[in-house]
């Protein structure tokens, strides 16, 4: 009985350790669709290798790596989060490079929302809720904070702000019409063109560039370096461009 229990336990847990050539990539939520499309190309070029993705807000991903999550590659949606990774010696600094760029946009639900065309419109009374990323852990939230601080709207707009776990949650709130406006990346807004409308491109923040680096504790360092190099290659760049990402 005891043996059978141990055996079944082993069988259940076995897949966790099985694939030796498995590469775990923690990537910013905004990269979800582009990275998923890249996976088969990378795997085809390196037989035996399988990619496993973990998408979330960059700050959350870094926090997981700091707690010892078995991650090989980290791709962040801002330089600040990656800088923190460098400061905490969580990533191999010499492998760091920028591979994509994006822009911040103000979006509104496609239908049934008050007209919002400029940042000043957010002050209007009929704009009741505005979705933004959590400032402490979500890069798009920090870009939004910088932009709204530049126009001196960050403090007065506080009562209207709803803080989301990642950029895709902001997009979801807007597309469901639960908020009147939200701040996301252009690439996210393009994915739901039928449900959200881009009101304007927002300036006044640090450039949105995506750095990638091999995680210091990676057990697949060589393969991880391959993936970082692959991101800079023509094939990956073409997919990124298709989703609207710019060159860094």
């Amino acid at each position: 009985m005891k043996q059978r229990l141990l055996l079944s336990l082993a069988l259940v847990t076995l897949p966790l350790f099985a694939s030796a050539q498995q590469l775990t990539v923690s990537a910013a939520a905004s990269l979800t669709d582009a990275f998923k499309e890249m996976a088969p190309r990378f795997e085809a070029a390196r037989p035996g290798a399988t990619l496993r993705f973990n998408f979330a807000a960059s700050g959350v991903l870094l926090q997981q790596i700091a707690q010892g999550a078995p991650v090989d590659v980290f791709a962040s949606a801002d330089q600040e989060t990656m800088n923190r990774g460098v400061d905490q010696k969580l990533v191999a600094t010499h492998t760091r490079r920028d591979f994509a760029a994006n822009s911040l946009v103000l979006v509104t639900p496609a239908q049934g929302a008050p007209a919002v065309a400029t940042l000043a419109d957010l002050d209007k009374a009929d704009v009741k809720r505005i979705a933004v990323g959590k400032v402490a852990s979500v890069p798009v939230g920090r870009y939004t904070q910088q932009a709204l601080e530049a126009t001196r709207q960050w403090a007065p707009l506080q009562p209207k702000l709803v803080f989301a776990d990642n950029v895709r949650q902001v997009l979801d709130y807007v597309s469901r019409g639960e908020v009147e406006a939200g701040f996301v990346y252009r690439t996210d807004a393009e994915l739901l063109k039928d449900k959200v409308r881009i009101a304007m491109t927002v300036g006044g923040h640090a450039p949105v560039t995506y750095p990638v680096a091999v995680v210091a504790d990676s057990r697949q360092a060589a393969l991880a370096k391959d993936f970082v190099a692959f991101l800079g290659g023509a094939e990956a760049q073409a997919i990124l461009a298709k989703y609207g990402f710019g060159k860094p």
Binding site: A57, G59, Q63, R129, K134, A136, V162, F163, A164, E178
Partner: protein, 227 residues
């Protein structure tokens, strides 16, 4: 470091947690007593299915509950749209949304406590009250309810503890808005995500301490012999 933690410490999430749990528990108490009596004392057709539906939040993933509330009460839904149109009211991103979620998860615990407590009340005592010219309502309030009270109270205290711990569905419906809808469980989640382990630990300890106190009280009522 600790002094920095104390100056940054915000009691609002704890206060909101107590407020949400209290309102949700009171709502669950009223609903639970009514439904518990129905399930224990009547032969309503479809009673078994209805009871199972009421117990569902106990076992459902919180995400299913949250999604259900969004679908039924979101701005694009029939009810949510109507409330918004006529009363300019919505439970989304409002602490009332957290109350709804917490009431639903608290209800099964009050309901179970109440229906088994009602089932154990000696029907002869109620009959005696009726012979003494007490109305049905009066005999319920003066005889049945006091006799069933310890069981109901034990379930209610458990429900309060459960309501305090509600997280997933509340997060989906009410969001985590500091000072408005951010409960203690959400503040802990945010603190962990932001790498503020000291703040997360402090909040976790406080929430655990309150929950232990409530559970101890609940056990005390459960172990008290039924009169």
């Amino acid at each position: 470091m600790p002094s920095e933690l104390w100056t940054q410490f915000d009691a609002a999430p704890l206060a909101l947690t107590l407020r949400v749990a209290t309102v949700a528990t009171l709502l669950a108490l009223v609903l639970g007593i009514a439904l518990g009596w129905v399930f224990a004392r009547t032969r309503l057709p479809g009673r078994g299915v209805l009871e199972a539906v009421c117990m569902l939040p106990l076992v459902l993933p919180p995400t299913v509950l949250g999604y259900g509330i969004l679908v039924l009460m979101g701005r694009r839904s029939a009810l949510g749209g109507w409330l918004r149109e006529h009363f300019d009211y919505t439970v989304i991103f409002n602490w009332h949304g957290a109350v709804i979620a917490s009431t639903l998860v608290a209800l099964p615990l009050v309901l179970k406590g109440a229906s088994s407590a009602f089932a154990q009340v000696d029907r002869n005592l109620e009959a005696a009250a009726r012979t003494l010219r007490q109305s049905r309502w009066s005999s319920f309030v003066r005889v049945t309810l006091p006799l069933a009270w310890p069981g109901i109270l034990a379930g209610t205290l458990l429900a309060f503890a459960r309501a305090m711990g509600e997280f997933g569905a509340s997060l989906m419906v009410a969001g985590s808005i500091p000072g408005q809808t951010q409960t203690a469980s959400m503040a802990i989640y945010d603190a962990v995500q932001a790498g503020r382990d000291d703040l997360a630990l402090l909040l976790a300890l406080i929430v655990s301490a309150v929950s232990v106190a409530v559970l101890v009280l609940s056990n005390r009522y459960l172990q008290r012999p039924t009169p």
